[in-house]
């Protein structure tokens, strides 16, 4: 019986620890805002260094959507609706989700590895032995940096997917959809609410990834194996969480 209970009990206990750690981190966020240099550095690490993959991924996703969408729409002579169909899919779903998945692999894993390595090399203990709390100094700026970077990169992803290098390139330049109807249909069908929903999703995903990454890194076993396990767990757990949360958020936003 004990063995049966052990797994759910352990899971609950570690979930509790993770929630407490999130509160601890959130409490330290104002302190992180007082260290703008550290925060800027983390936005650079999580955001700017992930820019290239977001730009490239966004462009290719837009191109492939335009290709598939055109094949479908041309059967109903509705290819003028190509722009809006690409736009709605990207803004509502693929933008936030793919941005989050790419960030989980690029930024989340590197945060977990970085903090885990600080644990393994006694840097976190060293900081706390110097009477400095590592959470505001190390954890909060990284957490906040990733959280801020996610919605910005989401907008860049969307812009790339719709724009001249993505959907527009294939739809308008290659397949010959009229540029005027491509863009005017987007403008009339997409409203601010769609972009706000997209940003909300993106913020939730960013928070989830950042939370999982800093928690895994901070609580990594102080060995090489521990750091590598923290990195892997971060990517797996945050990818699955993003996909699961996306369904929940979509249901909440569009079911009503």
């Amino acid at each position: 019986m004990n063995a049966v209970l052990r797994w759910p009990m352990d899971t609950l206990a570690s979930l509790g620890r993770a929630v407490l750690f999130l509160f601890q981190t959130m409490l330290a966020v104002p302190g992180a805002l007082l260290r703008p240099r550290l925060l800027a550095l983390q936005i650079y690490h999580s955001g700017l260094l992930s820019l290239a993959i977001i730009v490239i991924a966004g462009a290719f996703v837009g191109m492939v959507l335009a290709l598939q969408g055109y094949r479908l729409l041309v059967q109903f002579s509705a290819e003028s609706a190509l722009g809006v169909s690409v736009a709605l899919v990207v803004i509502r779903e693929l933008g936030p989700v793919l941005t989050a998945l790419l960030l989980a692999g690029r930024a989340g894993s590197s945060l977990a590895a970085e903090i885990g390595l600080m644990r393994a090399t006694d840097q976190l203990d060293g900081i706390s032995m110097m009477a400095v709390d590592p959470v505001p100094r190390v954890v909060a700026p990284r957490f906040l940096g990733l959280l801020i970077a996610t919605p910005i990169l989401n907008m860049i992803f969307i812009a790339m997917a719709l724009g001249v290098a993505g959907g527009h390139l294939v739809g308008v330049e290659v397949l010959g959809v009229d540029a005027g109807s491509y863009w005017s249909q987007i403008r009339s069908a997409v409203d601010a609410g769609d972009l706000i929903d997209s940003t909300i999703k993106s913020l939730v995903f960013g928070l989830t990834i950042a939370w999982i990454a800093v928690y895994q890194g901070y609580h990594a076993a102080p060995t090489a194996a521990g750091v590598s396990r923290a990195t892997t767990t971060t990517v797996v757990l945050s990818s699955l969480s993003v996909l699961g949360l996306d369904f929940v958020l979509t249901a909440a936003m569009f079911a009503a």
Partner: protein, 274 residues
């Protein structure tokens, strides 16, 4: 055994009745330790006797399961977070691997505690940092990053950082491990000189017997949760205890067995494999 210490000057750190186990291994089974003020005290023992754990107990990173640890009269284990941090500002710790912050330069590493805990201006911090680096002979390396330092240099930078706030107590965790003879000599001289020049108290945890005893005023030898020897460095060096002798002389077999506990070899070999 504590009689040997009774004539010691007053103690900065007092440990009473310490019992502590880690993953079912009893590290300390009711030991008392006094760290005399202004002296260098070596705590020695074979690997795995919990020497590093002892430093963590003094620094308040761990709480003793039983017994009390006092720093200058304040109990470390029951201190609130705020007062624990206040105590830690009066301690410096040199970690085994240095624990330098890899994203900061040597200069910024040494400046770190000053920037966090003092209201000194940039100019004064710069002067302080350069003075501390000068002491360890690395003023010229101020612009380097930890990844560019050799092991011995990293440890000296960590030492400069540990003394940045002029602490009353410096804890050294295995400072000699993996050092070449030259940097070993440098470190030995630095530890002794810093202790005497700054009037600090030093606790040196080490299994490098010769080195540790050569600069220590007092020494303790720990093994299997017990204190095996305590007293002045000379008295410990001449100890008659069999375990202490085995440890000091580096004998492969003795009270500390060569073999990890196992059933008899003959029985194991004759066993049917499962």
């Amino acid at each position: 055994m504590l009689d040997a210490m009774s004539d010691a000057p007053d103690s900065l750190v007092r440990i009473r009745g310490l019992r502590h186990a880690q993953s079912e291994r009893v590290l300390f089974d009711g030991i008392d330790i006094d760290i005399p003020r202004g002296k260098v005290t070596a705590i020695m023992g074979p690997s795995g006797t919990g020497k590093t754990t002892l430093l963590r107990l003094i620094g308040g990173q761990l709480r003793a399961q039983e017994g009390r640890v006092f720093f200058d009269g304040t109990e470390v284990g029951s201190a609130s977070r705020r007062s624990l941090f206040a105590l830690r500002k009066r301690m410096g710790m040199l970690f085994q691997q240095g624990a330098l912050l890899t994203d900061l330069s040597v200069f910024d590493n040494v400046a770190f505690p000053l920037r966090e805990h003092t209201r000194l201006g940039a100019r004064q911090i710069r002067d302080q940092v350069l003075l501390k680096l000068e002491v360890v002979g690395l003023r010229g390396a101020a612009h380097l990053f930890p990844a560019q330092l050799s092991g011995g240099m990293a440890r000296r930078v960590a030492l400069a950082r540990a003394i940045a706030l002029d602490p009353e107590l410096v804890l050294y965790d295995e400072p000699f491990t993996g050092q070449d003879p030259i940097s070993m000599g440098v470190l030995l001289r630095l530890i002794r000189q810093l202790n005497d020049a700054l009037g600090t108290t030093s606790v040196l945890v080490s299994h490098d017997v010769g080195e540790a005893l050569s600069i220590a005023d007092y020494a303790y030898v720990l093994s299997h949760g017990q204190l095996r020897a305590a007293g002045s460095a000379a008295a410990v060096r001449d100890s008659e205890d069999a375990r202490v002798r085995q440890f000091l002389d580096g004998l492969p077999d003795g009270p500390e067995p060569f073999h990890y506990p196992a059933p008899a070899l003959r029985d194991t070999l004759l066993e049917k494999p499962e």
